[in-house]
């Protein structure tokens, strides 16, 4: 048999208009078989997500959307070097995070700021990382969006693709040995699922029975490569069967479907020590990153189809149908979030860069003698040319005036270089003069 014969259906709960799909026919039949007690299931169904949690999910989605809009604008203004948006994938990322316990580990790829926001990473914490200031937990070493938080059990992002997937397997194995009933979720794109690390991870997870949830955001594109050029089979979900794992495909723009699927996956992972693969069918509405322009490889028409499936709008429709949300709350929350993001950005921009010593810390648990010497060499060089290294010089306590003096001295040096060469003979006399205004040592 070929993969074509294996076509996994998509688990859905929420229509775009905010109404729930009826519980499917198979479910109703099995209810009938148990005694025919089943009535119209949609009308008696309890809220799939309780009110408080649903509103927190929704506010987190709004925050992520506002953050994305503002930070992309900041990148375009040249205030930020780089950014990656979660736009279009909020239901997948936040819906799954909401189904976990707070001390479950999240090992994400890079686009999952929503999961971190769900856990309580503050707006300032996001900004400090993006601006790489002295309060950035990563000490200004990685590009914007490489967040991490030990307190929130969110593993620091690593740029090389898919490397977090086998690590999640190992992390989850450690959790199993520790026996505290925790699990790990690792989130990655369908492109990352082509890397060897993905296959190594699923195989090991299955053989060693680790409590790990593998969540694939199948968002249609890996930078410009569409998923039809990424894999030939029916997506990522069927791969689990080859590794003897349970798998489910969900509508990734349906926050209730993602939430319920992840809840079920967590139960399997923690209670039976079996890994689970979830494939969330979604769409990367934004560009891959601030350096990418999707108009070169996909049509506006295609994007419009997915804009109509906006996961935030879908959830809002549901919340309003529940009577839990209103136009006024939407507007007030949006305004407040935009204000919060802007103010936080201004604060973060003004903070000092990481101290110069952070150049050599954390390479090893303590800096080696060679590293200490290299730092001393750098410092000595900065003392000579502080104007050329303003961040390092500031960290070493140079004043603005000293930087200015250094800059002037260097400019004079440059001017002498550019001035016409004196005729021979004359130069011999000149060479006895102090070369740089008496500052030779």
């Amino acid at each position: 048999m070929t993969g074509d014969e294996l076509c996994i259906p998509i688990f859905k709960r929420l229509r775009q208009d905010g109404t729930l799909y009826p519980v499917d026919a198979a479910q109703r039949q099995s209810d009938d078989a148990r005694g025919g007690q089943s009535q119209d299931t949609t009308s008696i169904e309890r809220d799939p997500i309780e009110r408080e949690k649903a509103l927190k999910i929704y506010r987190t989605m709004l925050f992520t959307r506002v953050l994305d809009e503002r930070m992309l604008a900041a990148q375009r203004q040249g205030r930020l070097s780089f950014y990656m948006q979660c736009t279009g994938e909020e239901a997948t990322v936040i819906g799954s995070a909401a189904a976990l316990e707070d001390d479950d580990m999240i090992m994400a790829q890079y686009r999952e700021q929503g999961a971190l926001a769900w856990r309580g990473f503050s707006c300032d914490e996001f900004m400090n990382q993006m601006f790489g200031n002295e309060r950035d937990y990563g000490k200004g070493r990685q590009m914007p969006i490489h967040y991490g938080s030990r307190d929130l059990h969110y593993m620091t992002i690593s740029s090389p693709l898919a490397t977090q997937i086998p690590q999640a397997t190992g992390y989850a194995y450690g959790q199993k040995l520790a026996g505290k009933g925790q699990c790990t979720i690792t989130i990655f794109g369908e492109g990352a699922a082509s890397e060897g690390d993905f296959h190594a991870a699923l195989n090991m997870a299955s053989v060693h029975r680790v409590p790990c949830i593998f969540l694939c955001r199948n968002n249609g594109y890996a930078i410009s490569t569409p998923s039809c050029e990424q894999f030939a089979a029916d997506g990522i979900a069927p791969r689990a069967f080859g590794y003897h794992m349970q798998s489910i495909r969900v509508d990734g723009n349906d926050v209730i479907a993602v939430y319920e699927a992840t809840l079920a996956a967590r139960k399997i992972a923690v209670e039976t020590h079996q890994p689970v693969l979830i494939e969330a069918m979604t769409y990367r509405l934004a560009a891959h990153s601030s350096s990418d322009d999707p108009s070169g490889y996909r049509s506006k028409k295609e994007e419009a189809i997915w804009r109509d499936k906006d996961p935030i709008l879908r959830m809002r429709n549901w919340l309003e149908a529940q009577g839990w949300w209103s136009e006024e709350e939407e507007k007030a929350t949006g305004d407040q979030l935009r204000r919060e993001v802007l103010e936080s950005m201004k604060r973060a921009e003004k903070l000092a860069p990481p101290a110069l010593d952070t150049l050599i810390t954390d390479v090893y648990d303590t800096p080696t003698p060679l590293l200490k010497q290299q730092l001393e060499d750098v410092k000595q060089h900065i003392r000579k040319y502080p104007h050329a290294y303003p961040k390092g010089a500031a960290s070493m306590g140079f004043t603005a005036q000293e930087l200015e003096d250094s800059r002037k001295a260097h400019q004079e040096r440059l001017q002498r270089m550019q001035s016409p060469k004196p005729v021979e003979g004359h130069q011999l006399v000149e060479s006895h003069q102090p070369v740089d205004g008496g500052q030779t040592s």
Binding site: T156, T169, G174, A178, A200, M204, D365, T368, L370
Partner: protein, 322 residues
């Protein structure tokens, strides 16, 4: 005790002392590893703490990184150093940078990677390589290479307990060939510190791992000519003990470095550059490197390929007669 027994003994002690030490790799379980370094450990500590993995080097080290980040102390075996390259990314981009990139929020300091390296066992080009130089270019790793059973035990225990990821490269030619007195007790030898095996006046001979045996033979040959060699075992390639090596060269004025790996970009190049920077005016002769050829490792002609005592002896004489 031979070197394998010493390694087995070190692993046993580490597992007994710390319940979070977990051993895994290809065939390390019931079988005890293809070289038997992990014999009986599964019996003793159970399948959860000593187990076979699927055949996936990147999977093993990726798994080990995650396990170490979680707080366990993984000791992962890569069956041959020749097969470490599928895991290269997980070692140089992940393990080595884990602490730095997270600003010390997360680290994989508990990680130790054991792998047999080196030639002289008729292993041909895929069972004989010495890839230490590839990893020596990676800040954040420690690289350790023992030369005998006593060292293997003390350095391995130190590696497992070191708060940084350590690549522990075992000279497989010496696994059974090298036998020596090894204390039964738990002990550690310091990482990053070279071992001056023998003091001498005329020239410094420097190497590591299996090459030390060859260097000692070359020194004995030179002694017949009245040349008094100082012999240093570097033991740790990264970070390496610059002070001990330079102090020695300041005294003798001459240096020969020998390793099995190819010449170009080999770790001897790094040593030579550093020593000439620090000891330039004290050098009586150019620093000599005696290494494998810049070829893949051969099968039949491996004796010709490898640096041996005669090649080193010639380099010593050339240095003295410069």
């Amino acid at each position: 005790m031979n070197m394998l027994q010493a390694i087995n003994n070190a692993l046993d002690i580490a597992m007994a002392a710390n319940p979070r030490v977990v051993l895994f790799g290809e065939d390390v379980g019931v079988f005890g590893g293809v070289f038997r370094a992990t014999s009986h450990l599964q019996d003793k500590y159970g399948r959860e703490r000593c187990f076979n993995t699927p055949l996936t080097e990147q999977g093993i080290i990726g798994f080990a990184n995650g396990l170490a980040a979680q707080g366990s102390t993984p000791v992962a075996e890569i069956q041959f150093a020749d097969y470490i390259f599928p895991a290269f990314d997980q070692i140089v981009n992940e393990a080595a940078k884990f602490r730095y990139r997270s600003g010390d929020l997360f680290d994989v300091g508990g990680l130790t990677i054991r792998t047999p390296y080196g030639g002289g066992i008729a292993g041909g080009l895929y069972h004989s390589q010495s890839p230490e130089a590839y990893f020596a270019h990676t800040p954040g790793l420690k690289i350790v290479m023992p030369r005998n059973p006593h060292q293997a035990k003390g350095l391995l225990l130190a590696a497992i307990r070191d708060p940084n990821p350590v690549l522990f490269m075992e000279p497989k030619r010496l696994y059974r060939a090298s036998v020596g007195e090894v204390p039964e007790a738990d002990y550690e030898l310091p990482l990053g510190v070279a071992d001056v095996i023998r003091e001498g006046r005329d020239i410094t001979l420097l190497g590591w791992g299996a090459q030390m045996e060859v260097i000692e033979k070359a020194a004995a040959l030179a002694e017949q000519d009245g040349i008094d060699c100082e012999i240093i075992d570097l033991r740790s390639i990264l970070p390496w003990d610059i002070e001990t090596v330079c102090d020695s060269v300041l005294k003798t004025g001459r240096l020969v470095v020998s390793h099995e790996a190819p010449l170009t970009g080999g770790f001897a190049s790094e040593i030579a550059a550093t020593v000439q920077e620090r000891c330039f005016l004290y050098l009586e002769a150019p620093i000599r490197r005696v290494t494998g050829l810049d070829t893949p490792f051969p099968l039949v002609l491996e004796k010709e390929h490898l640096p041996d005592e005669l090649k080193i002896y010639e380099a010593i004489k050339q240095s003295l007669n410069y």
